[in-house]
Amino acid sequence: MISSPPSSNARRLFGEELETRLDEVLFASHSHRSATDIALGLEALTRSQQERVLHWAAVAAGTYAEIGYQIAAFAPKAFPLLDDAGFDAWVLAGLDAYDRHGGRAAMDLLRDLEGFCAGRDGLRPLARLSEIEARLTRFIHGLSGRPLALAAGAAAWTDTETIYLPTEQESQPEAGANRRLYKVQAVILWAQTRFGSFGSTAVDLGQALAHWLDTEDQGRCLRWLSALESVRLEARIAFELPGLGAEIAAVRGPWPAALAALLPRLYQPQATLADTLALLPLCLLDGKDAPRLPHAVAIDPAAALRVRALRIERDMKTVSRAISALEASAGSAGRPEQAEQRMAAPAADDASQLALEGEALALPPEARKAALSLVQDLGEVPPECLVPADPGPWQPTHLDSAGKRGGEDLVGHREADHRYDEWDYRRRAYRKNWCHLFESDVAPGDPAYVSGVKLRHAGLIKQIRKRFEMLRGEDRMLGRQPDGEEVDLDAVVDAIADRRGGLEPSPRLFSRRVRNQRSLAAMFMIDMSGSTKGWVNEAERESLVMLCEAIESLGDAYAIYGFSGWTRTRSDIYRIKRFEEAYDDAVRARIAAVEAKDYTRMGVAIRHLTRLLLREPARHRLLVTLSDGRPDDFGDEYRGHYGIEDTRRALQEAHEQGVKSYCITIDRHGADYLAHMYGAARFTVLDDVKKLPLKIADIYRRLSS
């Protein structure tokens, strides 16, 4: 085992050393195989390659032991073929295959090293969804404003909340073209949700298709529908986004004859689903199948309409609640029938023009989003939801399992270290001493973990340190000092003026260069709930290393605590680093041992850590929470609205006590409730957990400068 960080030219590990470490790493494996052969195979690699293999084997073994084993076994074969980045990509592709399709798929992918290399070198024109997923997700997000998730599926289709795309595409002759195909398909699917392929208030798709869907012609009907919609949507896209239109046209090629005849009616920016549905029976009559376009996507009206109906219901509730709140504050509640007349429904495409008696209606952001979403689904905000709803609590998110009372309270083995109140939004009051909080140290883990991370990210850490040192190095000239390296001219002039005026001149005539006093105390609150198991936990630990390296060079006071919980009687706070502790081996060992535990009861953790933070003598106090999604706890009502409201309240309390909070969330599906929950705090959402270690130092730098 190594205890100090090996430099890049550190000596290679010998077979028996490798075997010991492999045994540790693959300890969980039930395969009873000896690591001796694998260790011997790894002996020939350089030290940094060896560390890389051990790291990834450990990561993979945390998910599924056999994958870790395979990675170590194939590494000697992989390294001559792949560079470091390629090796990482190979492992990630394997883990990805496991997440999506299970162990067998992962094994097949890892064994097919040549195939992977060929795909990577562009010999096979293969494009993988995992390679473009992040970029494509952001692109689609940029197009729509309404977040659409991307996921792997058997075919390219959408249920209006998620765009499903195949994991691999190889139909085009080169990889670039296949990547373009992904993009074009994703755009067509986005356009289906954006430009009303699933109906509007005027057109009911379910009804229009009912006649066909129960016959054996169903498949043919859906293929025609999809083809016709592709024509219509392409025209619309080309009108709004000409560059994208040209890209689609290039992938599509010449129109098949069967579709070319329909272009005059269908290839129009103002064409709607009604035009498609008018043409559909004509296409189906002669019994031929739909022409297959290169970028054809599937359409599943039943699934899409189901998801859409749920969303519409939720959005309508949100909008009408917001309107009733507005009405109430305008003092004109209780006249709903008039309200309906006074509200002008917005123009077809712009919910921002929702107007009340000709004046723009200032909806709160969540309701505005819901209104925009309704316009995308229905073509308008339906008049019925412009009628104020019953006065009720503001409810930006859908309640799930509220009020369900599951497991019994679990009583801890010892008295709680602290008890905290918890906010009950239904009572609009605190539940007194409701949460029992236990504080303990994280049991130390492998101190070599941190060295491994530092070795792998050596370049990045160097960069971060340099940037942070620059931040600290911003010296400041202090004027009017009793002594110093330069004469302060302003002070001298004042002194002369004072003397002339008969006043006693000040002796403070010098300026002095001093280090900037930052006076900032930062508390990091790390999610150790069960949902962080695997990737998120790995990213959290790496991020902590980056963070410590960065802040150490800055000299700010900081502390790190983890939190988890199991009902209100067992909220755990795990000490990783206290304010007064140095970043030493004990802290490093604790960082290594941060692991996924139970649930996410956030409110009590925020309250406790705020209290600790307030004890720090600093001018600015900063609480950074790092979590992977919404608050959640076992069995009781914390999951859902209650937890969101309690977390929001706890952040407000912190704010009132002068603690600034910042929340980093890894959850790209959750953006709808975050703005409400974080209320007083600022937050950022990371769509890709793997980026966390790269981003966290920058986030901190931006926050504190």
């Binding site: 197009l143 890209e247 002039v493 003026a497």
Partner: protein
């Protein structure tokens, strides 16, 4: 003897496209001698609005860009040595108060907290400026107006405006204008045709969708105008947008890839 900085008057009407009732609100605030706080993202037209109002109200305009080394003396004034004498020189704030001008403190959160305090007595019913060094209280004439601006979108916890400062002002929210209005602005300021302006505004809208999802801010109207100006100068639209919008927004390689995609989608 005292020296005073030259106060400039705006003689030509600056181009400003009102987007709501901000002109009427500003005029009413001016008439009732209330100070004004402009909030809004960078590049949405705050500074241009103040220039326009100064022209409209026919007052001189003194603009101070605040920064974290701005001292009270920088605002109020200081003694200089001229020959064998000390001579008092008014700072921009004092000069503006004496002349009954509009004084605009841009990005006030950047200034040091102890500096901001000097504007407090000016920004309430007292309307006086204390010039300690001269033992003078400068009483603001009715035509003097204080305007400050800041961008609430900054994420630094150290840069926030204190309630005691904030609660002296009439506050206006500024945001990017509606698409049609913004296209008009981009077309006129950037010198491009309506279709190009429409596409630039579309690009702006797409980047603003990414705020909080990788970008700190979407493209401002100012950036869109820059891109339009490059296009008017003969640069190909894609290249102009990548240089003036995409690269100006962020340094992250992945995000730049996405922004390039968005530019390509529009042009």
């Amino acid at each position: 003897m005292s020296l005073s900085p030259e106060l400039s008057r705006i003689t030509e009407e600056p181009y400003y496209q009102p987007t709501g009732d901000e002109v009427a609100l500003f005029e009413a605030s001016y008439a009732r001698r209330l100070p004004v706080l402009l909030k809004g993202p960078t590049g949405c037209g705050k500074t241009r609005f103040v220039e326009y109002m100064a022209w409209r109200l026919a007052r001189p305009l003194v603009t101070v860009a605040c920064h974290d080394d701005l001292t009270t003396a920088d605002l109020v004034g200081r003694y200089l040595i001229v020959g064998n004498e000390t001579v008092w020189v008014d700072g921009p704030l004092t000069a503006a108060v004496r002349a009954g001008a509009i004084c605009y403190l841009d990005e006030i959160v950047e200034a040091r907290k102890d500096t901001i305090v000097v504007i407090h007595p000016l920004a309430d019913s007292r309307r006086v400026l204390a010039v300690d060094k001269r033992g003078e209280m400068v009483i603001a004439p009715d035509s003097f107006m204080l305007v400050v601006s800041y961008n609430p979108g900054y994420q630094s916890v150290l840069k926030e405006i204190k309630p005691s400062t904030r609660q002296r002002f009439v506050a206006f929210d500024f945001d990017y204008p509606e698409a049609a209005v913004e296209a008009g602005i981009v077309s006129r300021e950037g010198g491009v045709d309506a279709e190009t302006a429409r596409r630039l505004v579309k690009l702006g809208e797409l980047t603003r969708n990414l705020k909080g999802a990788g970008l700190d801010e979407g493209a401002s109207t100012r950036l869109l105008v820059h891109a339009a100006q490059l296009i008017a100068a003969g640069i190909a639209p894609q290249a102009a947008c990548i240089a003036a919008v995409a690269r100006a927004l962020c340094d992250d390689a992945d995000m730049n890839g996405t922004l390039d995609d968005l530019v390509a989608a529009v042009f």
